[in-house]
Amino acid sequence: MAIEVRSRIDDVRWPRGVRLPVVLTFEHQSGEGAPLFPGDRPNYMVGGALQYGARRGIWNILELLDKYQIKATFFVCGTTAEKYPDAVQAARKSGHEIAGMSYSFDRVRTASVERERSIVRQSAQVLEGITGSRIQGWRCPDYRISPQTLDILAEEGFTWDSSLLNDDLPYFFQCGARRLLEIPFTTSTADKTFIGYPYPQRGGPDGLANVWNNEFEVLYGESRRSPRFLILSLQTWATGRPAPLRILRQFLDRLAGHEEFWFARCSDISKRWLEHGTNQAS
């Protein structure tokens, strides 16, 4: 059973000159996560809003990130990678991190250990087959871990997970003899909250600008006294659309090119934490 390694102080040394790492995470699916209608009839979103991410959204995002030379993390459903391998390969080629997000948006909250392990293995194999490299990290597609998720990930050789939402900084789990770094995120700044299922609602793109700017200002202020990092959870089907993408571009305009903001992939954070973070030894 994974046990959190408790730390009483926030102590990590980011690379010299870096004040606030910025971690962009993109969740990439092509409709597997669309709720089915009663009788398991396909939801209109299967063929619409969510598929947009794989057909167009991810390409739009890759173009933007390339332009700014920013590296991000893409959580990719196995079936999406199988259906649309080109985009995943392009992302890898641009230096982005590819991480796992289940095989087909599988919900594991009540899954057996065997089933969950096979989902993790299958996802890792599919992504390795397409990109040529082994994935190191994971996010549960519905953000709902099972009691054994973290242990399975550690046993399967993963170095980090990003399925929890309960902290401002990464922290370790001790899973048997292994350690797994948890990189918590939040839905309070998530694009899907503002871009919506399936209609723009709750502020739309302007809402994103508002919440990201607030998040940035507060964390930037706090980072003067204590280590912080800014992590955004974005959907290729949401932020990949032109209007929210423009908001992301404006946000990047504000941050990119400044040494004090380090656009890190989750694996960069994980590596840094292993070498310079708290709880290196217990």
Binding site: P35, R107, R109, T110, D142, Y143, R144, I145, S146, S163, L164, L165, N166, D167, D168, P184, T186, T187, S188, T189, K192, T193, F194, Y197, R202, G203, D206, G207, N210, V211, W212, N214, E215, E217, V218, L219, E222
Partner: protein, 287 residues
């Protein structure tokens, strides 16, 4: 049985106070996590809410401290047990401390003997772990018995469970009185997020929907502006309710920070606690 008593003369706050803003910080962290139909708590919701005690409460403490605001922290007994260091810091910072049920039970769904047990249990947790004899109580969704139980079986000076009035009033029964300090529906839980409620088990899909921080700020500002205006001719008060896991998030914490900065520019605005307000009200009902 009980009856209400409203002030026999117009309420007057102390000299110089035009609008008290009654600050309630709900420190409940993961206690209200939504269950799945199988009875297990939703890991996603749990994790979102657990942010409250791990980080959110500390950030709120810092903001209140920055503005020298002392308010009321309404704390669940179970939260105090799990994260005593937060409550100790709250007490040390000089905030008033009140009870917010044991584990955020929906009292409206429980029989009176269970509600009473939970009240007593919570009171003793505060005494044991914090050395604090709580004077006030806010139920999460009051039952038909809440008021009777508080009157008959507690010595609380005030209750803050109701949303039904602009100003405090007295509730009298079982040989004693308790001051009701009602709150309002512009809490952050209403303005900032749409949370799944325990009475509506979560669907398999996230229902964590948020309004923008700007929306929350504008709603607080419009409530404040209206109440400040009203405060010229008659007593008014503004209940301000924030939760550790909602407003404790950086982007929403800025709303609280900005709102306090905005409101405190106005003459006669005082941020205060329920205990303080209760002491102001003590003389209102004597005749």
């Amino acid at each position: 049985m009980w009856k209400e008593q409203h002030p026999s003369q117009p309420v007057r706050w102390p000299q110089g106070v035009r609008l008290p803003v009654i600050v309630s910080v709900h420190h409940q962290s993961e206690e209200a996590t939504c269950p799945f139909p199988d009875g297990e708590s939703d890991p996603f919701d749990y994790s979102e809410r657990q942010y409250g005690a791990r980080r959110g409460a500390w950030r709120l403490l810092e903001i209140l401290d920055k503005h020298a605001v002392r308010g009321t922290w309404l704390i669940c007994g179970a939260t105090l047990e799990k994260y005593p260091e937060v409550s100790r810091a709250v007490k040390k910072a000089g905030h008033a401390i009140a009870g917010h049920t044991y584990a955020h039970e929906m009292m409206c769904n429980l029989p009176p003997h269970t509600e009473l047990d939970l009240i007593k249990k919570t009171v003793s947790v505060f005494e044991d772990l914090l050395g604090e004899h709580i004077q006030g109580w806010r139920t999460c969704f009051a039952s038909h018995d809440t008021i009777d139980l508080i009157l008959e079986h507690s010595d609380f000076a005030w209750d803050g469970s109701m949303w039904n009035d602009d100003l405090p009033y007295i509730i009298e029964g079982h040989g004693r009185q308790v001051l009701e300090i009602p709150f309002a529906n512009y809490s952050d839980a209403a303005l900032s997020v749409e949370i799944t409620s325990p009475s509506f088990p979560p669907t398999r899909y996230s229902t964590w929907q948020s309004n923008t921080p700007d929306f929350m700020f504008r709603a607080l500002k419009s409530a404040f502006d209206a109440l400040y205006e009203r405060g010229v001719d008659e007593a008014a008060m503004m209940p301000l309710v924030v939760h550790d896991f909602i407003t404790g998030r950086p982007s929403r914490a800025k709303v609280l920070d900005d709102f306090i900065a905005y409101a405190k520019q106005f003459e006669g605005v005082v941020f205060t606690s329920h205990d303080q307000l209760a002491s102001w009200c003590r003389n209102l009902y004597t005749s």
